[in-house]
């Protein structure tokens, strides 16, 4: 049984690593369609990674070891996060090592390292990006935590697998508090993954960029890892959303044979397809906010999450 569990665990992680760029590519494709552009192929992110891995690294003269370590740490953190989230099955041994709060911690670790790396070179853009990203971070994190709190209160556990199991078992899907939480979560997701309306992943327009500004000095394999990590992050966020709000199809404990797993993968892919399209739609419909509007936006998300919590306490107790 343990061997099977380990297989499930590693399989899930490998799956996440493998299809994360695909998800990013799918969103880009949808966006292009919605904007009536010729879409890049679905495999564009993979080609990009391959190209980057082959190039020579051009490292800034006074970059320190921290700068060179960061891509690996970033990637590692995101992989670990993927290992925690029950995207296809809930019986994950690693999810007990780190619960959802640790998950937020891992996201924070990644962010801090990337910001530090961005400051390491000592360029104007790098440090500016670092500052802005940290700002988004400290505003988004409480909102995310409140969203998770909702789920914790419903399930009585901070471990995501337990949350999923509880939700599939009791089908409190229709709990109104989750509605608020879902909207809040979506807003946080957009903000945290450098999406419109907070950031635009496709731009190098210097004054508005956040994520790109931090990655400016990275090249070749370092850049590849950074990009892959951000793909993974988006993927992870999507999976968190599924786990919290759309937990159908995830293979729960005791019912996770091969068939169930295969079904779970299929359902996951379907959910990703829909979610990617939805994200693209949202992104296409909204305009990028000025950086100083970001706090208002995230405060809104926070407020919604808290409202969800209060609704739960008022109606659910």
């Amino acid at each position: 049984m343990t061997a099977l569990t380990m297989v499930r665990q590693f399989g899930e992680v490998l799956l996440a690593i493998a299809i994360a760029p695909l998800f990013t590519g799918w969103i880009a494709q949808c966006r292009a369609w919605l904007q009536s552009r010729a879409a890049p192929p679905l495999t564009q992110p993979y080609r990009m990674l391959r190209k980057l891995f082959q190039k020579d690294v051009a490292l800034a003269t006074h970059a320190s070891a921290l700068f060179r370590m960061t891509p690996y740490i970033l990637f590692g953190a995101m992989v670990l996060v993927a290992a925690i989230i029950p995207s296809i099955a809930t019986d994950l041994p690693f999810a007990r090592v780190a619960d959802a709060i640790a998950l937020i911690g891992l996201f924070a670790t990644a962010r801090v390292f990337l910001s530090l790396a961005a400051m390491d070179i000592g360029t104007a853009f790098g440090s500016m990006g670092a500052r802005r990203d940290m700002m988004i971070g400290f505003l988004a994190e409480p909102a995310l935590l409140m969203v998770l709190f909702n789920a914790f209160l419903l399930s009585g556990s901070t471990a995501l697998p337990s949350v999923v199991e509880a939700s599939t078992a009791h089908s409190f899907l229709m709990d109104p508090s989750l509605l608020f939480a879902a909207v809040a979560f979506l807003m946080v997701l957009l903000a945290e993954n450098a999406r419109i309306p907070i950031d635009n992943p496709a731009t190098h327009l210097e004054l508005t960029m956040i994520h790109e500004a931090m990655a400016l000095e990275y090249s070749a394999r370092h850049l590849a890892l950074v990009e892959w990590a951000s793909d993974l992050k988006l993927f992870n966020y999507a999976c968190i959303g599924f786990a919290l709000f759309l937990p159908w199809g995830i293979a729960t404990h005791g019912a996770d044979g091969g068939l169930a797993l295969g079904l779970a993968v299929a359902v996951l892919l379907a959910k990703l397809t829909v979610a990617g399209a939805a994200l693209a739609l949202i992104e296409s419909l909204s305009a990028k906010l000025r950086i100083f509007r970001a706090p208002e936006y995230l405060a809104m998300a926070f407020l919604l999450a808290v409202l969800g919590l209060l609704v739960h306490l008022l109606l659910g107790a």
Binding site: L59, M119, D120, M134, T158
Partner: protein
């Protein structure tokens, strides 16, 4: 004497032995201090011999503290033949004091080792005197923790304030430092008076000042609350709870760095200890509103500290505000524990208290580490202003690497220790819906949100701190000559960072230590049955965490990634000038500054600040940007008090108008009025 073959009688004897040995160690600190006066200007004698010895004593104290935690003996009491008549100094060693002694010893050892390399002559007070003050400070902190009667406690408490005051003003030729010292001692003294009055209430009119008698005193609800409030004010002033924090950002930066580390890392914890001792041990919690009060103050302090830390431009001030934040977190935990206990939820109370205790321990480690690191930076560069530092990771790799650990730990990132306590704290917030008060149920989740915001802000602050000091390019050309810390300093820093890692990776150890305390205070511990690499404070279904496996996971994944990348790709690399979007002529002045990092905070949390800004115009020949930020508390609370005192003093001063007739009139009127009384 062997523990194994001893009867219960001899176990008691051994444990008595324990406490007296502990007191001897504490006394050893005083001796070391006095030894410093023998040759007050010989740095070699003081730094290379006395301070390392002090560190050894600290280790011994930590060891004995641990023993007290885990030996399971009944509390040990020892009477010193000193003190007031009928009230000899009572010393007592129980698990609570054991825990704080452990904290004191662990951090103290690191700080003393560092100080051995740090203090040198020619900086204000003579090294010998400094040595005396330093060790008296340490000893008085230990005695505060050991004291078991009100008088002994107060003597140790005020000695602590006094010795640290002298340490703060070591460089007394600088007026700001004198001002800071004055403010510090004043607040400390007023706080101490409040504590004293609290003891006055606690003795319950029986004139028994031992804590033992106070435990048994029966107080009415009014008096119990009065004692609690007075103690909260008194200890809050020492801990730096907002709005009594005003001295803290002045005094901590003013002191030499090892002293800042002692004050921030250890002294603030004695206030935590005091609150725990009085609230949990002497008063036994009574009312849930105490908890709400402490919780509210704690959360506000935490947020306030984090926000202000984010806008600081002086590295030590930044850390000082960060201390306010962390103290706020600790008090948040304490508040929750009081609340739960008052609502008869002892398990959750134990969880919250565990969180508070572990955070105290953590804070003492990483805050000392960071303050010491700033000390090294200060010695290497003679700069405290963040605007004049930068890029030191290349000049001071050791300090930078060790400070990075502290930075990540204080930012609350897994798998280091800061995360553990924040995790526990958030866990305990999850149980607030079980409190049988509807309004609190609604409000306290907001507390969790504030906590999350604070934690995230702390990360922001620490990125700023570390990034501006150690990363980027040198903002001043002179920084090229900065040198790394010497080996003693490195050892001190390494010891502290080791502690950060150890607690982060093996939180179960800290959990067990705190468990011994909660067992004493609440009669309940969190679930301690997990193996040593694992914590699951309530049940493992509820939540669990393992720092060790997480660390292993990170190392594993990063290692595999590295190897795979190396195998599949190649390792070619060349050095080039930074690209920076292709903009040429980048200078080090174009990096984001500490002020720049403060800008979003100033924007978002504007109402908190009292800002004074001077902005340049596009047409200015010599553009200048200046911003001055004041604490609103200062204007709102302290200046009116000062003005009031001044006005009252002026008004009263008119009594002494210089005219003899008026004076005679006073006498006459007094006479008449008094005669009226007896009429």
């Amino acid at each position: 004497m062997s523990l194994v073959e001893g009867t219960s009688q001899s176990v008691v004897a051994f444990s008595k032995h324990d406490l007296s040995f502990l007191l001897m160690l504490v006394f050893g600190w005083v001796i070391l201090g006095i030894a410093g006066l023998v040759r007050p200007h010989r740095v070699g004698w003081i730094a290379r011999i006395l301070f390392p010895l002090g560190a050894l004593i600290a280790l011994g104290i930590a060891g004995l503290g641990t023993l007290a935690l885990f030996s399971g003996h009944a509390p040990q009491i020892f009477l010193l033949p000193l003190g007031l008549p009928n009230l000899p100094f009572h010393a007592r060693l129980d698990t609570l004091s054991g825990f704080f002694l452990l904290l004191l010893g662990m951090a103290g050892a690191g700080i003393s080792t560092f100080a051995a390399g740090y203090f040198r002559s020619g900086e204000g007070t003579a090294p010998g005197l400094l040595c005396l003050q330093y060790h008296v400070f340490l000893a008085s902190m230990a005695l505060v923790i050991l004291a078991d009667d009100a008088y002994f406690f107060m003597v140790a408490w005020e000695t602590m304030a006094l010795s640290s005051y002298f340490l703060v003003t070591a460089q007394h030729r600088i007026p700001e430092i004198r001002r800071a010292g004055f403010l510090y001692l004043l607040m400390a003294h007023i706080g101490a008076l409040c504590i004293l009055l609290s003891f006055g209430v606690l003795q319950g009119g029986r004139w028994l000042f031992t804590f033992d008698a106070m435990r048994g005193a029966s107080l009415t609800s009014f008096w119990a609350s009065a004692a609690f409030l007075l103690a909260l004010i008194g200890f809050g002033a020492k801990a730096g709870l907002v709005p009594l924090h005003i001295w803290l950002p002045e005094a901590h930066p003013a002191a030499p760095s090892p002293v800042s580390a002692l004050m921030s890392g250890l002294m603030l914890k004695t206030a935590v200890y005091g609150v725990l001792r009085i609230t949990f041990d002497l008063l036994h919690i009574r009312y849930w509103w105490w908890g709400v009060l402490v919780l509210g103050v704690g959360l506000f302090s935490a947020l306030f500290g984090a926000i202000f830390a984010a806008v600081q431009t002086d590295m030590k001030r930044l850390l000082a505000y960060s201390s306010i934040e962390n103290i706020g977190l600790i008090f948040t935990g304490i508040g929750l524990a009081i609340l739960f206990e008052a609502c008869h939820l002892p398990l959750f109370a134990a969880l919250a208290l565990t969180a508070a205790l572990i955070h105290s321990l953590n804070h003492s480690l990483f805050k000392s580490l960071l303050f010491l690191a700033t000390g090294s930076v200060l010695h290497a560069t003679h700069q405290r202003s963040l605007g004049k530092l930068g890029g030191l990771i290349r000049r001071m790799p050791w300090v930078a690497a060790l400070a990075l650990i502290g930075t990540l730990a204080i930012a609350g990132l897994p798998p280091l220790n800061g995360f553990v306590s924040e995790w526990l704290l958030l866990q305990s917030f999850l149980f607030t819906p079980q409190i049988p008060h509807a309004f609190l149920n609604m409000l306290i989740p907001l507390g969790a949100a504030v906590l999350a915001l604070t934690a995230a802000l702390a990360a922001y602050v620490m990125v700023k701190f570390y990034g501006v000091i150690f990363l980027g390019q040198h903002r001043e050309p002179s920084l090229v000559h900065a040198h790394d810390a010497d080996w003693l300093e490195r050892m001190g820093l390494a010891w502290l960072s080791l502690g950060c890692i150890a607690i982060g990776v093996l939180p179960q150890l800290a959990l067990r230590a705190a468990g011994a305390v909660t067992q004493t205070l609440l009669g309940q511990t969190v679930n301690l049955a997990s193996p040593f690499w694992w914590i699951a404070p309530i049940t493992s279904r509820q939540s669990s965490y393992s720092g060790l496996i997480l660390l292993a996971g990170i190392i594993g994944v990063v290692g595999i990634t590295f190897v795979v990348v190396r195998i599949l790709a190649h390792g070619r690399m060349r050095r080039a000038v930074p690209w920076d979007c292709g903009y040429p002529w980048q200078t080090s002045r174009m990096q984001d500054t500490a002020e720049g990092f403060g800008q979003p905070i100033r924007h978002i949390f504007g109402p908190f600040f009292d800002m004074e800004r001077e902005l340049p115009f596009p047409t200015d020949a010599a553009p200048r940007y200046r911003i001055h930020i004041e604490d609103r508390m200062w204007k709102a609370l302290y200046l009116p008090i000062a003005r009031g005192v001044q006005q009252l003093a002026d008004w009263i001063g008119q009594l002494q108008g210089g005219r003899l007739s008026t004076y005679l009139l006073y006498s006459f009127l007094t006479l008449i009025v008094l005669l009226g009384f007896v009429l």
